[in-house]
Amino acid sequence: MGSLFQGGHLLSILIFFPAVGSLALLLLRGDDHVFIRRIALIVSVAEFLFSLLLLRGASLASGDYRLVEYGQWITAPPIHYHLGVDGISLFLVILTTFLTPISVIASWSSINHRIKEFFVMLLMLEVGVIGVFLSLDLFLFFLFWEVMLIPMAMLIGIWGHERRIYAAVKFVLYTMAGSILMLVGIIWLYNATGTFDLPTIQQMIQTGTLVIEPRAEMLLFLAFFVAFAVKVPLFPLHTWLPDAHVEAPTAGSVMLAGVLLKMGTYGMIRFCLPLFPEAARRAAPWVAVLAIIGIIYGALVALVQPNLKKLVAYSSVSHLGFVVLGIFAFRSISMQGAVYQMLAHGISTGALFLLVGMLYDRRHTFEISEYGGLATPMPKLAAFFLIAALASMGLPMLNGFVGEFLVLLGTYQSHGTWASWAALGVILSACYLLWSYQRVFFGEVTREKNKTLADASAREKFILVTMSIVMLWMGIGSTYFTRRTAAASQAVIDQVEPQRPYEARVPAAGGIRADVHAADSTNDLRDAKQIPAAVDVNR
């Protein structure tokens, strides 16, 4: 154990500080609610401040991992406690530590039974998520990936709404079904390389020491990709998401939309692309088609949603489609856009879920038809809702714009058709968000009960002002973020595109596509009916 820590301990502190906090909570008596809430808030704010120290340690110039911690954990097989942070994981960690105190405050009065357990679970969730973002050992990554399932399922299942148990079980089973194959994939990769260490394997692939034959590479790629695609969620694996979101308590939804979905896209960037570049290139057209279907389908379903929370949930499916598209366009710009969109979506959708939760606290319903004309009794809440909705639909000057714009720009450079179809999603998002906003907030107050609703309380205003400032800052000062993510994004692209620019290979696309089909037909991990239709869309 002596060699467990070399160099700084910041990353370990980041992972285990919330765990210590939640253990401390566990030992407290369960009936002093104010005290428990305060402890949870103090722990999560302190964690956020710790995570800001990452900004100092991370590098701007290169895509290398910083603040690395490396130590032997298990000898046979050699599993290491290997942590590190780069430009991509940096802001995802900060997003997590930022949204956790926000969730704590948002649950201040809306969670009123089994309070101690609630905050224990919330902090344990933070442990798992940060661990996922910081692990550089495949085994360690998988461990945190699975560990975070249980707290999230508990958050949904204990403090959720009517169909919470169904939603919680569905969430766990979907994620596990995806990840168990990833475990087989990880072991397979270990057998080929003799290590679980991500940078080492990356290096072996870059230098050509490790050559995986195309069919095996595609299978491995799929084993990882499906696990991540479930989490994102990519169409058609998205069906758990609306259930989980609608049933989860507000804090659960915020963490789910804000951070957990990003674990999927983060996994694609961190593992799928660098480890299986050839397979990723071959699968890219198919993935892009699924992403575009997700963008449009999510938006269309959101358009006809009578349930406000489900509407926001489907908008997530649509927005995450942009992220996946940006990743698989293999352009430096679109990759940066994808990373940016991950952060922006975390903030703006998080804000939308917080607002929907506030409406629910007042009326105990998500039905849009139950609302109407709310701007009259609660003008401040309406104003904040408008900001969040505009940010989510990608209005310039707000955070959503930068990500979507960069994704579309990068995608257009390599695949004009993809970008054109995806752009539909931007238009549709304006439709569903504005239309629902109009139905909820504008016009006459339609229900007698709604006339007397209280406007935002001081606590709620604090949350919303904070979120709005971040949205505005990310919209205006986007270079602060992109400067830090640029090198790491470029590094990923360099690994996928080692020799020549993507365009040079386009004439060969027909041949590549045939290969993909052959590989795919041997393992129907995807919906068989979907693929022919998907090709047409692409053309």
């Binding site: 945190f144 299942g157 079980v169 089973l173 194959l181 087989v184 270990y190």
Partner: protein
């Protein structure tokens, strides 16, 4: 002719277990204190476990090749001894509650333990048969120990009838193997012709006999009924001890007999696949927690058989290629025994007088009534499910690794599918405990206070589960020795 000291030392654990069992029977008429027997049995179980170190320090053949003291038998004796200790601790309050005789129970328990110890260290098939009989016959009686319960008697009879068949298969298998090789000593079968049909038939009959003991499909039909009917501490024993011992013998036969080769690969492949599905699909619909755990133990036998398929795939690899697969079996049995004993102990305590509260509904809202019990049971279930930070996760991980090592990708995928099916019913119990409200009468009833001995069992199993989930190094390095099984 008196046996040499070394021979006695090599069989010391079994001698101590048997000795204390007989002592308990002798003292029964004279000692009125019931808890005296608990202490006696505890001493016996601990003493035998301690003696495993003595036996382990005296490696070699004992009694002219009848038993073998090596790292392998040392590991299994420790495991079986640990199981016995924990079951003694868990049974005390149960016997008190059910007004059952103490002395006989502990005597039978120790005899069964000694039988398992013989099974795990036998190097000769007839010795193994004696071990099997010793543990089986004690088990039959233990299953029917609640005489006034029809379910318990039914379990006993069923177990006895089907078990006798299985033992007969086993014995007949030994006869055929003897016919084919001219010896019953596993260490002297080097010259046997691996292609002899007689040998193949004999080994397959042995496989059937032991397959019954480990509850491998299609020989698993008895398991749910027997597990449900037997007194719960006995069920805890059944799910951990005899299974480990039978797997030990199976591993010794198929790892050390050169004639048991690649030929058996498909047998284990099919057995594993069938067993996993039989267990997991059967468990899906159970509402009785004991039956649910019974089906789950069938499923876990299937996972272990996956590692056996890997063992036989690499059977003739003399460079130690199969060592990781052996280690997978051993580690899995350890993690599994801890978890199952812990889980059944909680089921035994929650069950209450006459084992009345066994349905899932009785567990509704347990997290609020008894948070510690609910948390511990959740930990065990998550370990069975194979979630990280539990020993079960590493167990499953090593089996996956052994399977992928042997290019058994499809079997690994089947196992992955089964893990997902398993996740559903394990989660269901957790969901019921944490997410459903308790009935009014359950809330009104005072929470069951666990006796100290039970708390010790829970602490040992829970800490063990987490410890081996975080730091499996020591155990692994120990069982990864190339000379694990003496040849």
């Amino acid at each position: 002719m008196f046996p040499r000291t070394d021979d006695l030392l090599r069989a010391l654990p079994e001698l101590i277990w048997c000795g204390f069992a007989m002592l308990a029977m002798l003292l029964q008429p004279f000692v009125r204190s019931r808890h005296f027997f608990t202490v006696l049995a505890l001493l016996g179980a601990l003493g035998g476990t301690g003696a495993a170190f003595v036996a382990g320090a005296t490696p070699g053949e004992g009694f002219y090749g009848l038993i073998q003291s090596d790292v392998f038998s040392f590991f299994f004796r420790l495991l079986i001894g640990l199981v016995a200790v924990l079951v003694v601790l868990a049974a005390d309050s149960y016997l008190e509650r059910e007004k059952l005789p103490f002395a006989e129970f502990y005597a039978l328990l120790l005899f069964a333990t000694a039988g398992m110890g013989v099974l795990a260290s036998a190097r000769e098939l007839l010795t193994a048969f004696i071990g099997l009989e010793l543990s089986s016959i004690s088990s039959y009686i233990l299953a029917g120990f609640r005489r006034d319960s029809t379910k318990s008697s039914e379990a006993s009879l069923k177990y006895f009838l089907l078990g006798s068949f299985a033992t007969a298969f086993f014995l007949y298998g030994i006869a055929l193997v003897y016919g084919a090789t001219g010896t019953t000593n596993l260490g002297r079968m080097d010259d046997a012709d691996p292609n002899s049909n007689l040998l193949k038939l004999g080994l397959s009959l042995i496989l059937i006999g032991l397959g019954f003991k480990v509850a491998a499909a299609p020989f698993q039909i008895w398991t749910p009924d027997v597990y449900e009917g037997a007194p719960t501490p006995v069920t805890a024993l059944f799910s951990a001890g005899p299974k480990a011992a039978a797997f030990a013998l199976l591993l010794r036969i198929f790892a050390s007999v050169p004639a048991a080769t690649h030929f058996w690969f498909w047998a284990f492949w099919v057995l594993a696949a069938l067993t996993m599905f039989a267990g997991n699909l059967g468990a899906l619909l159970q509402t009785n927690v004991k039956r649910l755990l019974a089906y789950s133990s069938i499923a876990h036998a299937g996972y272990i058989l996956v590692a056996f398929a890997a063992v036989t795939f690499m059977a003739n690899d003399l460079n130690g290629g199969a060592t990781p697969a052996y280690a997978a079996v051993l580690f899995y049995l350890l993690s599994y025994a801890l978890v199952k004993i812990g889980a059944f102990t909680i089921v035994s305590e929650i069950g209450g007088w006459g084992e009345k509260n066994l349905t899932l509904d009785d567990y509704a809202g347990l997290a609020q009534r008894q948070p510690v019990a609910a948390a511990a049971l959740s930990l065990y279930l998550l370990s069975l499910l194979g979630l990280p930070v539990t020993a079960g996760f590493f167990g499953k991980f090593y089996i996956f690794k052994a399977a992928v090592n042997s290019h058994l990708i499809w079997l690994a995928v089947l196992m992955a599918v089964n893990s997902i099916i398993g996740a559903y019913y394990y989660l269901r119990v957790i969901v019921v405990m944490y997410m459903r409200e308790a009935s009014a009468e359950a809330m009104a009833a005072a929470p069951v206070r666990f006796p100290v001995a039970v708390n010790v069992v829970l602490a040992v199993t829970a800490i063990g589960t987490v410890y081996f989930g975080l730091f499996p190094n020591q155990v692994l390095n120990f069982i990864l020795q190339p000379n694990l099984i003496a040849r």
